[in-house]
Amino acid sequence: MEPNDRLSLDAWANPSSSCNGLPRKMSLENPSFTNFNLQQQEQKWDDTSILNYGIRIEPPFLEFNQASESEYLLSSTCNNQPKVLDQEDGLNNEALQTSKSLDWDPRTMLNNLSFLEQKIHHLQDLVHLIVGRKGQALGGHDQLVTQQQQLITADLTSIIVQLISTAGSLLPSVKHKLSTGPPNGQLGEFLFPPLAGMNCVPQPQHGSGSKAVQPLQHGSGSKAVQPQCVTGSKVSDQCNQMDVTGSFGTEQNLSIEEHEMKEEEDADEGENLPPGSYDILQLEKEEILAPHTHFCTICGKGFKRDANLRMHMRGHGDEYKTPAALAKPNKESSLEPVIIKRYSCPFAGCKRNKDHKKFQPLKTILCVKNHYKRTHCDKSYICSRCNTKKFSVMADLKTHEKHCGKDKWLCSCGTTFSRKDKLFGHIALFQGHTPAIPLEETKGPSLSCDKMDGNEASNKSGNINFSFGSNAGGGAQNIIEVKEDADDPASYFSPLSFDTCNFGGFHEFPRPTFDDSESSFSFLEAP
């Protein structure tokens, strides 16, 4: 198997030389994998540039390489960490250990393995074919070349997926719904080891990108149904996974932009690593969503952190208590020049996906997890206080709950803010928006109108007895009017409503009638 892989790697390392058309029947021979292929195409259809196209084809291919390399790596580090096993060894080993515990069926395992073997053989043939035609002219159909490439990459991907899922089915804590997920943390990591230089080299293409892509799309329509049936009968796991990834492309396009803002928090925007200076790792969806990524190979208990697992392992025997066993794995690799790792979101079309035009990598696995949950998953955590805010990351909910109910700054448009400066920034931005004043006390004019006082009413008689001087006629009328008013209007003009001086009895003090000529308008002043 290894030499084959090597061979294929070599073959694809300089694809321009091997671009002679692959017979179309070849692709028909492997109908089960075109499905995957097509779905990938659909997701990335909007990319038309050659560069993007080149990158697009690579991911599955890379994964394959990674997988094969990881095996080497794994076996080389076997001495230090006996528990970290080669994939196939691991399968057997674990199969023995967990055979009694859960519904693991050795026969399906065998089926799967034999299927894998078959597939690898297929691939082998294919690559042989390509190698055989390597030296021939480049004049072949571009479509065929690309199709052929994708076929192989799809094949490889599916093999890897298959392997992972087979391995995953061994673990007791992983339920059926996650059966395709890679439950073994080490496995997941080893799947994506550094692979410098490969990821961003655009593959030389003949003709424009759009040309190259189009025929594939046509093909997708016709073949989309067929392969599912085939694979479905053979390997249900694989089929499941494909369906899921396929549906993502259509369902969650909308949610991407919505979450773009939030996710910036996780990303280091200032970081401007030139493309190619770092390695891009892409975890699969199941891997990201798995509650635990580190599992005890003895009892099967899952852990979120590797360190916790190592702490746990101490309980299984003295051999796990040695400093070497407790040490952080891959420590020695740090002696070599550190290769920067960055992560890509598996969701196609996402800005964090390495195929995106403006790809921005995620810094850590935690970032990947948070990003994926926030952006591409349902928000299942609902704030119990406000019952409106929903979150997909528990930590976000907790952060929100700390501040929930404190949004006291309200705009007339209904938007609430927890901070005054945010509200004022909002108001400055929008025409006509004003801060809303909370209705704490509602005091209508009618209320104050109605609160009539007997005391004031009695005072009234004292007040309106002023004569109106030269304006006598009008004045007299006023008095009458005022007296007739049922509402006692004069009480509003009652001078005695002055609080501190309301000496009710003293308005009977003899008042001078105003002297007409002098004082009738003494209450007027010039401007």
């Binding site: 005054k420 109108c449 309106i464 002055f498 209450f523 007027l524 002043e525």
Partner: protein
Amino acid sequence: MSTQSTPILSVLTEDLLIRVNEKLVQDSDRKIWRLICKEFHRVDSITRKTLRVLHVEFLLTLLKNYTNLHTLDLSVCPCIEDGTITLLLHRVDHSMWARNLKFLNLSRANGLKFSGLEMLVGACKGLESVDVSYCCGFGDREAAAISGCGGLKELRMDKCLGVSDVGLAKIVVGCGRLERLSLKWCMEISYLGVELLCKKCLELKFLDVSYLKVTSDWLRSIAALSKLEDLAMVGCSLVNDVGLQFLENGCPLLQKIDVSRCDCVSSSGLTALIRGHNGLLQIDAGHAISEFSGNFVECMQELKNLNAIIIDGARVSDTIFQTISSNCKSLIEIGLSKCTGGHQYGNYAADSCRNLLRLKLESCNMVTEKSLGHLGLHCALLEELDLTDCFGVNDRGLERLSRCSKLLCLKLGLCTNISDTGLFYIASNCSQLHELDLYRCTGIGDDGLAALSSGCKKLRKLNLSYCFEVTDKGMKSLGYLEELSDLELRALDKITGAGLAALVTRCKRLAYLDLKYCERVDDTGFWALAYYSRNLRQINLSYCSITDMALCMLMGNLTRLQDADLVQLTNVTVQGI
């Protein structure tokens, strides 16, 4: 009173009468006009634009009579409230009086809440200016009501303690064409509100942010106001030179700047400000700057149009002041109160600034009769002169000063060297005088007051506190000053109830009276006070020998009283209170 028989009315048509009426400026003249006959009164009520209501009882009638009002001043009717407004709008045909109203003064109307304001604003569509100063109950809700005036150009909210940034934001958004805004003492206003103001109200010409927590950030925002002409920030202790440097490059039309009592401002900050604005007309830096650098003086020379400079409390040498005054020829106001370091401010001011209107020389010990002579000789237009605590002022000096016949306001407090003779010169020449401060001028007696009452008929404000020589006779002569509204008689222990009675029977306009320590005034005086002084708004009776009965009468009768100081009344029992 009969119109037909008067020949003059057959000649004068209504429009002629209106024209004549427009020529009347003085309040008293208009009053006489009103009282001539019904026709004249009618003309007056048609043409009258301004109404200042003293008694809220008459508001209803008055608003019925005067339908063309532009200005309504209710500042001395503090008991106005929401119900009053409802009534005014429903009983009186509101389209009549509210229609044309442009300027509304609601200062101190504490009873007015948002519902009343809302109605008012709804009725007065054309409102351009509203004054709600000193309305303690004025908060964000009320501000929201005011913000309904889309066309508002001027708003004064001095000491509206309840207004916060939210209220300001309401107004800013609602009244985008605001040109003049005073936020003095609105302590809740913070940077956020002002920042928003500076973003939204770009028409702003006048802004008063005195006594607020103004920082450099505020000034950076304010500097963006391209039409700002007048900026007042009195007592902003956080403003420093850095902030003023923001103004150097902003506010291109700035004409007036007031940084008085801003402790952290130095002459270098002010220099920067001046450098950026050659068109400055007024600088008020009183009690802010203590020393002047050479740079500052150089910059000052560039300000050819400067009208007013107030540098109270600074150390100004004669040469510096001479440079300033000789370069800024158009100065009409100079404030040098409590300035030290110079001897001949008066001389220089008088010699170079011929158009001087206002001069403040408080506590300038070097003011002599010679300086006053210069003033009298050269500054014929002088209207306001503050010589408080200048002990160099004597009778001869006043004689020379009395050539300034246009004097309106003269402050001679603590000038212990003046006597009745000096006052006589003033009284005989300065007939326009309406404010005179004689605080602790112990040389003043009844004769001086007699001269005053015959010469200065327009006197409105008079301070006679601690002029111990004044007796009942002086009080009686003061009674001839009919316009008198503010009178301080503190510690005049020679006056009695009879004197007070003689005064109040004639001075009907008295609004503020200070009788503290007038221990010999007895109940007869207070009875008279209660009977006659209907317009009294503020009274200080502390340490007086008033009894329960008289106090009750005073409080019951003085219906417009807003503020009464009643400390240490020995003859008043608990029952009286």
